[in-house]
Amino acid sequence: MSSPILSVRGLTKKFGGLTAVNNVDFDLPAGELHAIIGPNGAGKTTFFNVVSGFLRPSGGRVSFNGEDITGWATHRISRLGMARTLQIKSVFNGLSVYDNVWIAAHARNRFLHPLRPARAYADTAAVVERSLEAVGLAGRSPELAGNLAHGDVALLEIAIAIAMRPRLLLLDEPVAGMSPEETERTVLKIKELSASINILLIEHDVEAVFKIAEHITVMTQGAVLCQGTAQSIAADPRVQEAYLGVPVVAGSTDA
């Protein structure tokens, strides 16, 4: 196995008396689509927030692509090649779909030219076209992002992430609030993307997760409960207990 793209050691985040993430060790090998599942309040989003630089950890280290990024600002982490979507979909509402993706594609050029027309960058334009095509929004370029339907906003957010050409993509509940058709479409896109980008996702919709992910980590109460392939997780009684809150009698098949 190659060295992990993301490696977390002893990661802890406390909010006052509440320990949201408790001493988590986690390795994400390169070339994998990995999902983190767990009941409400398990600390999944807080884990993402610490990894992506939204929050400073109370303890522990995060290293990404071999670099220690503990406590870095979000824009520095993202320049290193980590892209992220948010649980509450977050795009530039007042900008066109095209400009949303354009600025993401262009932001890796650290110098923002103050006088050259933005439209003059052929390489950036090519990345924008490709990213919009990858999520199926190519025909929607001139529309305001704020006027898109919820499912399309989620796809736009993914297009923004792709345009950054990241090494690792963190998806926070990518199918939350979607209709069954939108969910199916998005799941398909994520699977396609995982061929070229390392993806780590959090999801509540367990059914969707088992369709996508090869490997799954289960979190409860801020800690890692268990880790394994989709089948082994589905069969693990501890997981069922964590979700249902009651011990499952051995041999019982309904969950």
Binding site: H75, F92, N93, D99, A107, L112, L115, I160, M164
Partner: protein, 315 residues
């Protein structure tokens, strides 16, 4: 449509010193020059509010620095008009770098408040330090000529030359804004305005981008202040007061925040109202207040913003 409108405006502004006196009293040329100066101050507030999402009530501070820069250059250092002008703009821009370093750490109302506070501090210093600034009375000065070419003397005392000088400088500032707003930096301004969190997540540094906008805005306000001092041969602390910044914000909102020419049109309109009405009715500001309320209620995008939205809806 857009190009035709710009061409008509440019033709009108270029020919105004000869065209206007045919129809109205000659002092309207001066009023038009003043409108352009205040319009430039409004565009400074607009670059922050309309494009970067920062509500500044402190642009008068850099306007004041620009005005005093010219006054000091001419009276204290014995500099000519052009060197004083560059000195003034440099001082105003430097002041914006220093103030911006602290101010753009904050956003929303905290940012608005800190810009007022900076403005008030320097206003009180300027009022109190009478020996340097002239306090409330201000500093008056005589304008040296810009250049002598044989018998021909270029001087701002010639109203037509003064008007064209102001038009050229303001025009250059608008060209600069136009270039910046369509550049990658301009797109980054609007990205930070729309969603600073997302901007950070795609690798933009919102702090640096806000600071850049703040410094450019300070530069524009400084140019406006320097022009105003040359225009009125006078600099005074009263132009540093935060209500002057407030007027710039109102002009911006009335004309259309986030549009290139909206703020200048808002400024021109409200100065026109002032010129026409203040002679007849001392409480004319009531009417200005009603006008602002109407715009905010029925055309929240401002005059130019609403026109643009209507045109976009028809397409």
């Amino acid at each position: 449509m857009r190009i035709v409108g710009a061409a008509v405006l440019a033709a009108f502004l270029l020919s105004a010193p000869w065209l206007l006196p045919k129809f109205v009293a000659e002092f309207w040329v001066s009023i038009l020059a003043e409108m352009m100066i205040w319009g430039l101050l409004a565009s400074s507030a607009n670059l922050l509010l309309g494009y970067t999402g920062l509500l500044s009530f402190g642009q008068s501070l850099y306007f004041g620095f620009g005005a005093y820069g010219v006054a000091f250059g001419i009276t204290r250092f014995g500099l000519g008009v052009v060197p004083s002008f560059f000195l003034a703009v440099a001082i105003a821009t430097l002041a914006a770098v220093i103030a911006g370093f602290f101010a753009v750490r904050l956003t929303w109302h905290y940012f608005a408040i800190i810009t007022v506070v900076f403005s008030l501090i320097f206003y009180l210093v300027a009022v109190g330090w009478k020996s340097l600034t002239g306090g409330d009375d201000g500093l008056s000065f005589a304008l040296p000529p810009i250049a002598k070419l044989g018998d021909l003397e270029l001087t701002l005392l010639d109203p037509t030359f003064q008007y064209l000088f102001i038009l050229a400088v303001v025009g250059a500032c608008y060209l600069l804004q136009w270039l910046v707003l369509r550049s990658p930096l301009g797109v980054a301004f609007t990205a930070v305005r729309e969603n600073a969190t997302r901007a950070g997540l795609i690798g933009l540094n919102p702090y640096l981008i806000r600071l850049t906008a703040f410094v450019i805005a300070g530069f524009l306000a400084g140019v406006a202040g320097a022009l105003f001092a040359l225009f009125s041969r006078y600099a005074s602390a009263q132009y540093m007061y935060w209500t002057v910044s407030g007027e710039a914000v109102i002009w911006t909102i009335v004309g259309g925040a986030g549009t290139l020419f909206g703020p200048a049109i808002g400024a021109a309109l409200l100065i026109l109202v002032r010129e026409e009405l203040s002679g007849y009715w001392e409480h004319y500001l009531i009417l200005v207040g009603i006008l602002v309320l109407m715009v905010v209620t029925y055309a929240p995008k401002g005059i130019v913003g609403s026109l643009q939205a209507r045109r976009a809806a028809r397409q």
